[in-house]
């Protein structure tokens, strides 16, 4: 803790006279991995980066079609939806004092196009031009309906070319943006300190200093919040919700989350190449129970990979919880596995996917499938999944845009279609079409069609969307919960 005005030491914070207090301490459940928007995609880092960087356009997270101007004051779209021309704000300065120009915006997008972490988000972009300092022209390869929304994502946070080149490999530790807060310090594993940016081009925020404290243990973090060692606790655990609500000093904010938990299969290897087997699993899984077990019933059940905030969502179709043990057993017999078989469920460590796996493990036992759980370290997990070395897995995907969600999961080259085990030309075609379709209703219809196809061949079994929680002192005002990593501190203030 080396920044003036913050109190990362966490002595029970002295009750500063209200109104005078202008700093806030926010918990982080893990140490961020760096603050380079085109390199780092981890949720804790993004929580910080949202406050450091601006994007050309803004959307609430990425799940809203409500697009607001950001660093671009306005924009024109060509008739064929292929060329976007942005008119940039003038007088905007980076935290290092450099003026913001179109060249930086061009640099940012071109950087995003080549950085391995973000390249796949830029697949639709053909080229970027900066004809003058305040104009940026982006040309697409194919029309892409969600392009603007995509551009509001944190990975398009605009960076300063000079700062990036100067810092080289260490840029992640010396981020320079145009946002309301500038980076002060990051002491690894302990805290990240941000300070108010005096030259901010927007409205001056009420909170001047932000400290993010790493508190990996949720129960410790809650004690810290209750003791006043911290002011806000993003992603508080569902189990703690009643305690927080009962605490007169605390407020609990919640929002439907956009992270889906699902079960996936390797549809190319026996026995899950057999559709009957997958169906059997689908009917054997009691989503309610999984939901209770893993989530304490907190959130909403999923009947498809889409939820209410996304295009193409239909609560009635497919059926929410198709659980039917008899049918499942019958299907197993039909598939020739009346006596069941053994398989493994893979998952990446560190989330509550383990609980999902445990419940599913128990449920599969009912239809004779003996599943073992393999909790793998992330790296191993990805590596094995990428080459299709798996049978069943518990997946999670945080991508609250129907196009991305469905593409990632079901497209032949979708990154979460692990090992490209699934390929359905109809779906690939529909996805391309939908992307180019500007009529929302028609697009929704196409998405529904995809959902239906995948439900029928039981390619993946969607389970639920957990709720998003955010606990804070009730004297902290202006808190909005939008996405699990988007908490704009600039809108907060002390009572």
């Amino acid at each position: 803790g080396d920044s003036a005005g913050t109190n990362p030491g966490g002595e029970a914070a002295p009750a500063a006279p209200s109104g005078e207090k202008d700093s806030v301490i926010v918990a982080m459940n893990a140490d961020p991995t760096g603050f380079d928007p085109q390199v780092t995609l981890d949720a804790t880092a993004m929580m910080v980066m949202y406050n450091i960087y601006d994007t050309l356009v803004e959307s609430d997270g990425a799940c809203s079609s409500d697009i607001r101007p950001g660093l671009a004051e306005s924009w024109d779209i060509s008739d064929d939806n292929m060329v976007y021309t942005f008119h940039l704000k003038s007088g905007v300065k980076f935290h290092n004092g450099e003026p913001f120009t179109a060249a930086d915006a061009k640099f940012t997008i071109e950087r995003a196009m080549v950085e391995p972490a973000t390249a796949s988000y830029c697949a639709s972009i053909d080229k970027v031009d900066a004809p003058d300092d305040s104009t940026l022209v982006v040309t697409l390869k194919v029309p892409f309906a969600n392009f603007l929304m995509n551009l509001g994502g944190s990975f398009f946070g605009v960076v300063n070319e000079k700062a990036v080149t100067e810092s080289g490999e260490d840029y992640g530790r010396n981020p320079v943006g145009t946002g309301p807060y500038k980076f002060v310090s990051w002491s690894s594993g302990d805290n990240v300190v941000l300070a108010y940016n005096e030259d901010y081009h927007g409205e001056a925020p009420a909170i001047k200093n932000v400290t993010y404290r790493v508190l990996p243990d949720t129960s410790t973090a809650l004690v810290a919040l209750q003791n006043g060692e911290i002011d806000a606790l993003p992603n508080s655990a569902p189990i703690d919700a009643p305690t927080i609500e009962a605490d007169p000093n605390l407020n609990l904010y919640s929002a439907p989350g956009a992270t889906i938990a699902y079960i996936g299969f390797n549809t190319q290897a026996a026995p899950f190449d057999n559709e009957k087997v997958r169906q059997a699993v689908k009917y054997a899984i009691n989503k309610e129970e999984v939901f209770m077990g893993a989530q304490d019933g907190d959130g909403v059940l999923a009947n498809s990979p889409l939820n209410e905030v996304m295009d193409g969502y239909n609560p009635d179709d497919p059926v929410m919880n198709p659980y039917d043990l008899e049918k499942a057993k019958a299907l197993m017999t039909e598939a020739g596995y009346a006596d069941g078989f053994s398989c493994s469920i893979k998952l990446a460590a560190g989330q509550n996917r383990e609980k999902v796996a445990q419940v599913v493990q128990a449920q599969l036992k009912e239809i004779g499938i003996t599943a073992s759980i393999e909790t793998l370290e992330k790296g191993t997990y990805f590596e094995q999944m990428a080459v299709g070395n798996y049978e069943v897995y518990v997946g999670g995907l945080n991508w609250p845009d129907a196009d991305d969600m469905l593409t990632y999961l079901f497209a032949s080259d979708g990154p979460f279609n692990w090992g490209s085990v699934y390929s359905n030309p109809t779906i690939d075609e529909l996805l391309v079409k939908a992307r180019q379709e500007n009529d929302a209703a028609k697009r929704s219809e196409m998405y529904q069609q995809i959902v239906k196809i995948t439900d029928e061949d039981a390619n993946k079994i969607p389970l639920y969307f957990p709720n998003q929680y955010f606990a804070a002192k009730n004297s902290l005002k202006g808190v909005r919960v939008i996405d699990n990593c988007y908490y704009p501190v600039a809108s907060w203030s002390w009572e």
Binding site: I239, E289, M292, G293, A357, V359, Q361, A362, S372, I373
Partner: protein, 299 residues
């Protein structure tokens, strides 16, 4: 010239003096030590529970079968220790966990001890350069804090019961081999070993017949204390998320599973925690008792 002077003259055969055999003396010393007996009794009970865990509880239906509706029930007459996060009976899991934890503890220590005995005996008996090399290698292993060595091994092999045992056991070997070695060194130059050599006995036979039996006592003590250590370390690894895969009811894993509910439902961590504590306590009492009984002068 006769030498049988003492026999007819001594009032009674001298051997009949009331000197006990080492074993009897050991038993008497051990059983006079109340703490040690308590430790032994608890340990025997635990072993009993571990051996008959299958009979006492139904693995499929009580230990791993979930009952989500009844999750996290407080202790009641139906579930004496309550239920866990998946509605499983904690008592049943604690009982079964005895088997797992004791298996981990005992197997790990047994393997480490076997390795330690071989390494220590060879190193101590032959001495010289071989001894030097082996002991330097052991030094190196000892220079890596055992928890870190375990963490590195788990990081490499991944979690899982066998890997945990390897990880924890590896760290124990140097300690055991040192104890064995120093015991061997103290035996090696004893004259009865020299006598066996003088007769022409082979190295192998000497190590087997003379060295190991006489060097065993301190290792056994060390091992008894080691079992508790292993159980705690394994639990610690489980706690860090580097331990045993679910749904195996290892106590450390149970603790770490129950950890997020510690505020609201302390029974989730209380019972597995107590189980670890009692087991380790019993083993420590037993180990101390053994040590005092085997050699009252040992530290």
């Amino acid at each position: 010239m006769t030498v049988k002077t003492e026999k007819p003259l001594s009032a009674r055969p001298e051997g009949e003096e009331k000197k006990e055999s080492p074993f009897k003396e050991f038993c008497r010393r051990f059983f006079r030590n109340k703490q040690a007996v308590i430790g032994l009794v608890i340990f025997v009970m635990l072993v009993f529970v571990a051996v008959f865990a299958d009979v006492l509880v139904d693995y499929d239906n009580q230990v791993i079968k979930q009952d989500i509706v009844n999750k996290r029930q407080p202790p009641s007459s139906e579930h004496l220790m309550g239920t866990d996060d998946y509605g499983r009976d904690i008592l049943a899991r604690v009982i079964y966990g005895t088997r797992i934890s004791l298996t981990i503890g005992l197997t790990t220590v047994a393997c480490a001890m076997a390795a330690g005995i071989v390494i220590g005996a060879v190193s101590g008996y032959f001495g010289g350069r071989l001894d030097n090399v082996i002991m330097r290698v052991m030094d190196v292993f000892m220079s890596i804090p055992s928890m870190l060595l375990a963490i590195a091994v788990v990081a490499s092999l991944g979690p899982g019961i066998v890997n945990i045992m390897i990880a924890v056991g590896l760290a124990l070997v140097p300690g055991y081999s040192r104890v064995v070695r120093s015991a061997v060194l103290s035996v090696r130059n004893k004259e009865f070993v020299q006598a066996a050599k003088a007769v022409g006995d082979s190295h192998f036979s000497i190590i087997l017949h003379h060295i190991i039996p006489n060097a065993l006592a301190p290792v056994i003590v060390q091992a008894t204390l080691g079992v508790g250590e292993v159980i705690i370390t394994a639990a610690g690894l489980s706690f860090l998320g580097l331990g045993i895969a679910p749904p195996m009811p290892e106590w450390g894993a149970m603790l770490s599973e129950g950890r997020e509910f510690i505020r609201y439902m302390p029974h989730l961590v209380l019972f597995p925690g107590l189980s670890i504590m009692i087991t380790v306590l019993a083993l420590n009492l037993l180990g101390d008792g053994l040590r005092d009984a085997l050699d009252p002068q040992m530290k």
